[in-house]
Amino acid sequence: MQLSRPMCIAGHIVLLAICLSILFPMAIVLTTAFKPMNEIYAGGLLPQAPTLENFKRLFEKTAFGWYIWNSSGTTFLRVIGQLVIGVLAAYAFARFRFPYRDALFGLVLGAMMIPQVLTMLPIYIMMAQLGWFDTWWALIVPNLATPIAVFLLRQHMMSFPNELIDAAQMDGAGHWTTLWRVIVPNLGPALAALTIIIFIDSWNEYFWPLLVTESAQSRTIQIGLREFLQEDMNDYGALMAGIIVASLPAIAVFLFFQRRVMDTFVSSGLKG
């Protein structure tokens, strides 16, 4: 259907407004990060005298190096853990017949529906009892498996051609070899999409690290950024610089895996 010209113009105006509302805050973050202190409240979008002072202060005034290390390390291990456990659980649910399989899978799906805030307190107590408070263990272990990975990978494995699995068996492969050498290499797009979802979810997590970390040496970036918001004075320049540094890995991961994710969406569209 062809839109009339006035409708078309109106549509473009609405889309432009939406784009600006998304881009404008990002532009403020970007420009503020390069503004000297005295320009931040002065108005004007672009910095008059661009500076890297904010980035310097970011690392001088806080343990930002530790935050980056903690965020990177825990996120990396969480992504690996969630993918590996997701692949193993999905294979079991997709390929094995065992008693109560469907009921168990229902439980996994059910876990996806439970709000995180409900499980936070019991897990918090558990972490305290295990003595994992303020360690990487508390950041990683409760988040080592995710129902969404099990669910998504199971769907992909169920639609995986049976003949390929049969061929692998005839070639002498057991379940373990079939899974890792035949199935997983062909799940690239699904794994890439999952990696992005899990990475961003883990990297941006705020509330759980806030609860279980205390010392600067175990804090993550998202918690560290808060240090620039103090009662006496908010250091917006360093905060914005921190936001840029915190965003870069997520953008890099997205760009790296983007192509393969797009493949997933394209093929899932065709198959659907």
Binding site: E163, L164, A167, M170, G172, V182, N186
Partner: protein, 364 residues
């Protein structure tokens, strides 16, 4: 290389029985084709031999060893699948060598064997390609090479030619047969294509409804089918059937279908029967005195060059079997509606009782 033995094999999927009382002895080096319509249990039987399905009852032996409970990876069998089932992420060389890689065969030995198998099938120039860059025929060859390299006790083929075009199918048929004869490996081949069955098999196993209907050499099955089903399944175009009655009178017996009458052996039991005659056994009447003559109106002509298929309306048989197809040698210029006198010899005819079982010696 080894003999294969199916003993009292049954397979149930919940309530439905896919294979019933399957008993078959396959000799060492034999090429056996399981043939039948879709859902007849042929692929299920092959998969049970491969270890990809577990029989509900019965035992399977390979070279005298009971392999019923042996996992497929330990059975020393190689299988070529209908879809070829090549691993999409591996090159042709990696596909062919996957089994040897898993067996931890030294790399140099793998390379030598891959080269040998690829050369045998004429795909040695494709070794670095991925399966998606291959044509259907090339993929099929890779799948066969992957089976050969394992030097198995037996080859299992599950409709390996069904995705190829007619021309390629013919050449692949010949190549697979030659290859099997050269290697001398016991082969079980599943197809629904009776031409493949007839041209490739040492012995054919015709299956229907999960049961074996008949086992024999292609010519035994062609000449002496034990049932209407086997007679109809083997041969192209299919056998013509004319329904009628066996009538006894004055000590002699006749097949009667409206005005058509054919003398029968007096020992033939009375009742409804069916006469079967293959299209290639119908000839235009010229001389032969012992021929049964019948005239019909030409309905449809398919000129194939070397032969002509003519659909004739006999006008004598009950409506359901009124049309017969004749396969006449050479070219015949026949217009629809033309009257044609045809004949067939009693020795080429088959008689089936009401249950579809062959009645032997029915024609004098």
């Amino acid at each position: 290389m080894a003999s294969i033995s199916f003993r009292n094999i049954n397979k149930f999927y919940e309530a439905s029985q896919a294979v019933a009382d399957f008993n078959l002895e396959i000799a060492d080096g034999e090429f056996v084709v399981l043939v039948g319509p879709s859902g007849c249990g042929k692929t299920t039987s092959l998969r049970m031999l491969a270890g990809l399905e577990q029989p509900t009852g019965g035992r399977i032996y390979l070279g005298g060893q009971d392999i019923t409970d042996v996992p497929s990876k330990s059975r020393a069998l190689a299988m070529v699948f209908q879809s070829y089932a090549l691993y999409p992420h591996m090159t042709v060389a990696e596909n062919i060598s996957f089994a040897l890689t898993l067996q931890k065969v030294p790399k140099s030995e793998i390379a030598r064997q891959v080269q040998q198998a690829a050369a045998l099938l004429g795909i040695d120039h494709l070794l670095s390609r991925k399966p998606r860059a291959l044509s259907g025929g090339q993929r099929q060859r890779v799948a066969v090479a992957r089976a050969i390299i394992r030097n198995p006790q037996a080859f299992l083929f599950d409709e390996p030619l069904s995705n190829l075009d007619a021309k390629l199918r013919h050449s692949a048929r010949v190549e697979i047969r030659k290859l099997q004869q050269n290697l001398g490996t016991t082969t079980v081949y599943v197809t629904h294509d009776q031409i493949e069955a007839m041209t490739m098999a040492d012995r054919i196993v015709v299956m229907e409804g999960g049961r074996i209907r008949q086992v024999g050499t292609p010519m035994e099955l062609y000449r002496n089918p034990n049932s209407k089903f086997v007679a109809s399944f083997l041969g192209s175009p299919p056998t013509n059937f004319i329904d009628g009655e066996c009538v006894h009178e004055n000590g002699s017996a006749r097949f009667v279908a409206e005005s058509m009458e054919i003398p029968l052996n007096p020992m033939t039991a009375s009742g409804p029967v069916t006469v079967g005659i293959r299209p290639e056994h119908i000839t235009p009447v010229k001389t032969a005195s012992d021929q049964i003559r019948i005239s019909g109106g030409v309905r449809f002509v398919e000129a194939l060059g070397a032969e002509t298929l003519v659909d004739l309306d006999l006008g004598v048989a009950p409506a359901a079997s009124r049309t017969v197809t004749a396969r006449l040698a050479g070219q015949h210029n026949l217009a629809a509606g033309t009257k044609l006198e045809i004949g067939f010899s009693p020795r080429d005819m088959m008689l089936f009782d009401a249950q579809g079982n062959a009645v032997s010696g029915a024609f004098c």
